[in-house]
């Protein structure tokens, strides 16, 4: 796809999907690249213009593909390299870019590199991983998977040393102090870039390098690795994009943008739980506070915003008081909690309340950043906490009310995961086909939302200015780009609200509501009075006529 606009990622609406979960074209119970290609028309119709693919590489699948055993191939379950290439071309023909996952930090313990490394202490690949005679090094490093791991070190009975792992013990960390590793991983990236991948979502980037006496996160040496990758990317593949997964506080995230010479985009992890908190508290304070703490990033860079993804709703970047509140309000059942988070999808989190889903998606699309929609959330799919780990939010896409929800022709017992069957979120109640029938369905509304979002670059590239009306249940902000200004007003409350907005600097403008294009009264000298229904929001374009 031509890189006619190097900042394309700023205008992207990203759809996150796992190949395995989307559509099974072969009838083996697993989604595949041919199936995904067959559903590209659906995604094009939805209006998204970028796809983020979760790991699709060969893997023992002990961590849903984040345990890669071969970086230059496709898991045979999902098809072949040719299938991937065909899918990529088909996506590009529809104007959809493809971002693929790259797990730089660690491999599977089944990867040949690790098998060689552990085979003996003098193996040439020994130094590709982090080995130690003791499990006491890097004591200041937190354990991320608290529910399953007791240490960041695991004993290898083969070579009789400990190896370092920040995630599961079957995911040994690569040693980025080794130039051979850095060279090899760039070569892997180049392999996919040459094929046409538009960008990478780089997994777990804060943890690449370890140093004694630190918490082994966000180290300068890690940034050096990233800068080097970015330099090579810009030189050999201009217009391609790097997206950071770094679950950190905003101030700690800033270095990942560097001077515009590290990542193009990074997820804004702390904002996401605060959006849920704001709606539950019916108070904008959590949202405005975290955005106030969010530093200005270099001009070519962009935040990535999301409501839900394939992981638990992470509560690492909140205070203890906020975490307790989130658990009590959003994960009343202990089974809904995992690690420091909540393993639920968007619709169940929001009590399947259509008004709240619209409000949250409205904020997702109007706050500064590139929005990501997690597959199935556009139709309000549910979850199944009984599936263990995070598999409950990774169930098959629900296309229709027929056999296997239209996902696969296989026997139901052979599906990679069972479909949802309950009367609210089950595939017979919640599916694409039924929602396509009606203009007022969630799916139809999401299409409208995306269309309106894409109608103005101000929402994707504009600055933000908060208005702070005295009514704290209302979150209001202006997005500005050039001469264009959009006013966004969100009622976070379950009750109707009146709000007075100080719009004096815009006196004389009329407001044009962007979804219905109706005209609202001209801004005068007095505070602008608006009333909003429960969870209602407005997007207004300001026009001086």
């Amino acid at each position: 796809m031509a890189a006619q606009d190097g900042l394309w990622y700023k205008d992207a609406i990203i759809y996150q999907v796992h190949v395995r979960a989307f559509y099974d074209s072969t009838g083996d119970g697993n989604g595949d690249f041919r199936g995904l290609a067959q559903r590209l028309d659906y995604l094009q119709d939805l209006g998204i213009n970028a796809i983020w693919l979760m790991p699709f590489f060969p893997s023992p699948l002990r961590d849903d593909g984040y345990d890669i055993s071969d970086y230059r191939s496709v898991n045979p379950t999902y098809g072949s390299l040719d299938d991937f290439k065909s899918f990529l071309d088909a996506a590009h023909q529809r104007g959809i870019r493809v971002i693929i996952e790259m797990v730089l930090n660690h491999t599977s313990d089944q990867h040949p590199w690790f098998q060689e490394s552990r085979s003996s202490r003098d193996n040439p690949r020994r130094n590709w991983y982090v080995w130690s005679d003791t499990d006491t090094k890097y004591k200041g490093t937190r354990i991320i998977f608290l529910d399953t791991e007791l240490s960041n070190w695991a004993w290898d009975p083969v070579s009789k040393q400990y190896y370092w792992h920040r995630f599961f013990s079957h995911q040994p960390d690569l040693n980025y102090d080794n130039p051979q590793v850095r060279e090899e991983m760039w070569d892997v990236m180049r392999f996919w870039l040459n094929m046409g991948a538009d960008g990478f979502r780089l997994d777990a980037v804060p943890y690449l390098v370890e140093r004694e006496g630190t918490n082994c996160e966000n180290l300068p040496e890690t940034h050096s690795v990233i800068k080097q990758l970015r330099e090579r990317l810009d030189k050999e593949f201009p217009g391609r994009m790097l997206l950071a997964e770094a679950n950190q506080w905003p101030a700690d995230l800033l270095p990942y943008f560097g001077n515009g010479d590290e990542f193009h985009m990074a997820f804004h992890f702390p904002l996401m739980p605060r959006m849920f908190m704001g709606v539950k508290l019916e108070d904008r304070k959590p949202i405005t506070e975290i955005l106030k703490q969010t530093p200005t990033i270099p001009e070519p860079c962009q935040w990535c915003l999301f409501l839900r993804n394939h992981d638990e709703l992470t509560l690492e970047m909140v205070t203890d008081m906020e975490r307790d509140y989130m658990y009590d309000e959003y994960a009343k059942e202990k089974t809904q909690r995992l690690n420091l988070g909540i393993r639920r999808r968007l619709a169940p989190l929001l009590d399947n309340d259509r008004r709240k889903m619209e409000l949250m998606n409205g904020m997702l699309m109007s706050l500064p950043g590139t929005p990501i929609i997690y597959y199935g959330d556009e139709i309000g799919m549910g979850d199944n906490v009984n599936l263990g780990d995070r598999n409950g939010v990774r169930t098959p896409m629900q296309w229709n009310g027929g056999w296997n929800g239209g996902f696969s022709n296989a026997d139901p017992e052979t599906l990679y995961a069972p479909l949802l069957l309950n009367p609210v979120y089950g595939f017979q109640a919640t599916n694409v086909a039924s929602q396509r029938r009606f203009d007022h369905s969630l799916l139809s509304w999401m299409k409208l939302l995306i269309r309106v979002r894409k109608s103005s670059a101000v929402l994707s590239r504009g600055s933000i200015e908060f208005l702070y009306p005295a009514n704290h249940r209302v979150l209001a902000y202006l997005r500005k780009l050039g001469n264009e200004t959009v006013l966004v007003v969100n009622n976070l409350s379950s009750k109707a609200q009146a709000v007075e907005l100080d719009l004096k600097p815009y006196r004389g403008n009329i407001l044009i509501e962007m979804f219905g294009r109706n005209i609202f009264p001209r801004i005068g000298d007095l505070p602008y009075l608006l009333t909003l229904g429960p969870y209602q929001f407005y997007w207004f374009r300001l026009r001086r006529i």
Binding site: M277, D283, R284, K285, K292, M321, Y325, Y468, H472, A498
Partner: protein
């Protein structure tokens, strides 16, 4: 002609911004700049500590302060506009202030706060005195918790007071309320108390706001109304009650607000207290001894002199109010020298009951009746101070209990006086 609103347009705009709340804390003020800042900061800390998830608001109803009181209250706000690094709050806390018309009058302040609570659909409301300098954050929990978690309607405070403080409450309001309404609430005329939103709304709807008890002593009227309607009452021990001394107390005013309101309540609720009535429970949470014994200097001599002077000076008034037997006893007492003076419990109780009956029958102007009780109360206060001068806390409690029993025992005396048999 449209009815005049008691709430200003500006205040209503602020209430719109606050929206529905779970907790409302009201602070009535009038030139309380020296203490109110400390009080609202304690309230704020209590809300953050004990009710961080509840939607809360602090509302100040001010009677026309000129000392910056309102600004001190507003400074307790927590919002995304005013970032205070050391304050960790989940949500916005509005702390707003309004000036009511016709003040200063505590009843008007209470009415303003009740109206706001009604509009904001507050589930629980607490009133906190602006001079309660002993307040700490736990007061907020102790006042509000029984409403929010135990389903109570009214929470009355129990303070630890010096044995010579609150003499009017200890010698008249508490024992008489207990005897007549059969509810042992230690502080029926509370400065710091809490009530459910529904009880507050019912009280707001009462037709008292053009009457005297709608301006002064309204908190007592509130508590008595709750007792009359058999609301679920509880008492919470909050700790020491210390006030910022602003000068000598106006006893006539205090008598109007306490005895005057109590008498008016008896007059309005005769059917309620005259019918057979089970005691109304008012359990006390966390109660501790309520009497403290620090050294205190009081001018008892002047009390005695004013009693004797009053009995003599007000004789024509007493002739209208008191039975000849009681009046004669008082005249005899007035001649007793200070060293041997004692106003006996039974005579005091009968005096008070005859005053209550006279108030009911309005034998003379009711305000004159209430004022005439002041010198007699001074005689009773002299006796209380004398009896308890060297008493331990237990002995003081025992003496108060004895007085309560006398009020109880003499209840038939009140009924006889009430219907004119005396």
């Amino acid at each position: 002609m449209p009815e005049t609103s008691i709430l200003s347009d500006e205040f209503i705009r602020e209430l719109i911004n606050v929206g529905e709340v779970d907790i409302l804390v009201g602070v009535p003020t009038y030139n309380d700049g020296r203490t109110v800042g400390q009080v609202v900061q304690a309230v704020r800390a209590g809300l953050l500590q004990y009710f961080p998830r509840e939607r809360s608001v602090i509302i100040n109803a001010d009677g026309g302060s000129r000392d910056g009181t309102q600004d001190l209250v507003r400074a307790a706000s927590i919002s995304d506009l005013s970032v205070t690094p050391d304050v960790h709050a989940l949500r916005t806390l509005h702390s707003i202030s309004t000036r009511y018309e016709g003040g200063p009058a505590s009843g008007l302040a209470l009415r303003t706060i009740l109206a706001a609570a009604d509009l904001l659909q507050a589930k629980a409301c607490a009133m906190v005195a602006p001079d309660s300098t002993a307040i700490d954050p736990s007061w907020v929990e102790r006042l509000l918790q029984p409403l929010l978690h135990d389903g109570r309607d009214l929470v009355l405070p129990v303070y630890r007071r010096h044995k010579f403080e609150g003499l009017l409450i200890r010698n008249l309001v508490y024992p008489m309320t207990r005897a007549i309404y059969r509810c042992a609430a230690r502080e029926p005329y509370p400065a710091d108390f809490a009530f459910s939103g529904t009880l507050g709304s019912r009280f707001l709807a009462q037709d008292i706001w053009t009457q005297e008890q709608g301006r002064y002593g309204t908190e007592l009227w509130f508590a008595l109304s709750a007792i009359v309607e058999k609301a679920k009452i509880t008492q919470s021990f909050v700790g020491a009650k210390t006030r910022f001394e602003t000068g000598p107390a106006d006893l006539v005013k205090a008598m109007r607000e306490s005895a005057g309101v109590l008498f008016a309540s008896l007059d309005a609720n005769f059917a309620a207290w005259n019918s057979p009535r089970e005691p109304l429970e008012a359990p006390c949470a966390g109660c501790e001894p309520t009497v403290s014994l620090e050294h205190s200097r009081l001018n008892r001599k002047r009390l005695h002199q004013m009693f004797a002077f009053g009995v003599s000076e007000l004789e024509p008034v007493f002739l209208s109010i008191l039975s000849s037997h009681v009046h004669d006893e008082l005249k005899r007492l007035a001649k007793v020298p200070e060293e041997s003076f004692a106003y006996p419990e039974e005579l005091w109780v009968r005096t008070v009951y005859e005053f209550a009956a006279a108030y009911h029958k309005a034998v003379i102007g009711r305000d004159h009746i209430v004022q005439a009780l002041v010198p007699l109360f001074r005689g009773r206060a002299f006796t209380f101070l004398t009896e308890n001068r060297d008493a331990s806390a237990e002995e003081v409690e025992s003496n108060i209990e004895s007085l309560c029993n006398t009020f109880e025992r003499e209840r038939p005396y009140l009924l006889e006086a009430w219907d004119g048999r005396k």
